[in-house]
Symmetry: C2
């Protein structure tokens, strides 16, 4: 096999592999959300709130790419599930912020723990130099995904 | 920094990195589905049908981890959008199979093309040996996701 063929094969493999990973990621989040009685976007939004802290519905909409109506329905579901609370911003009483609640953090952490542990076990099969190379690639792949997300939202 | 610390830092980085990639993947699929007027699970199911070919609702439920009721609603939405058709199995007229339609293939391909092209551009920054190492890791990460999905469905 010539180098050109082997490279083009490798590039096709990359696309198939990330597609496979993408499909499984979406299905995993769907199943995880279902296990918590939520929609997949709800779970990701709860995750974003846990990471970034309280924010307004408008800010959450921007971060998720969801419409105002969808964000309202989403916050209603999360509030009903006891994952977030709508509170008045102490610095500006006219602003309502969505505050992540501790229950949400624990449930989500428990759900993802086996995945985190398996990922760490996998890392132990590689040297530090290998991991640095792999993470540089995966980090860039995550950036590409972010750029594509921005493009889709336009 | 001692080797132990640096390794444990790297393992934490891995978890954060895959979490970031996971969040962006879920949000990307959400936005892509929205652009096509579908739910994220719908898009993934159309993708699965395009890859694997016609199957029964029961088989699609097994592959996606969705309940019978959810699959029925999903196939209704995909049929309305012109992405699939319900047809009698030519080998067994009592069986109804869900058949992916060509329109779905083209729309989904167009939506994902820039992502595929950027991924292939990224690959060109690495040597073949580096890519083989990276893909072995990503492939195993995809397998972990599959195992975790199976666990969640139980």
């Amino acid at each position: 096999m010539s180098t050109r063929n082997s490279r083009s094969e490798l590039e096709k493999t990359a696309v198939q592999l990330f597609r496979k990973l993408g499909t499984r990621t979406v299905l995993f989040h769907q199943a995880a959300a279902q296990a918590l009685g939520l929609f997949p976007t709800d779970l990701k939004s709860a995750d974003i709130l846990n990471e970034a802290g309280p924010m307004t519905a408008g800010e959450l909409g921007k971060k998720t790419g969801l419409s105002t109506g969808s964000v309202t329905a989403l916050v209603d579901r999360l509030e009903k599930a006891g994952y977030v609370a709508r509170e008045k911003d102490p610095n500006d009483r006219r602003r309502v912020v969505i505050v992540p609640l501790t229950a949400s953090k624990k449930h989500i952490k428990d759900l993802f723990r086996p995945l985190s542990e398996s990922t760490m076990d996998l890392c132990r099969e590689y040297t530090e130099e290998e991991l640095e190379l792999i993470f540089s690639f995966v980090g860039k792949a995550a950036d590409i995904m972010e750029e594509e997300l921005e493009r889709l939202k336009q």
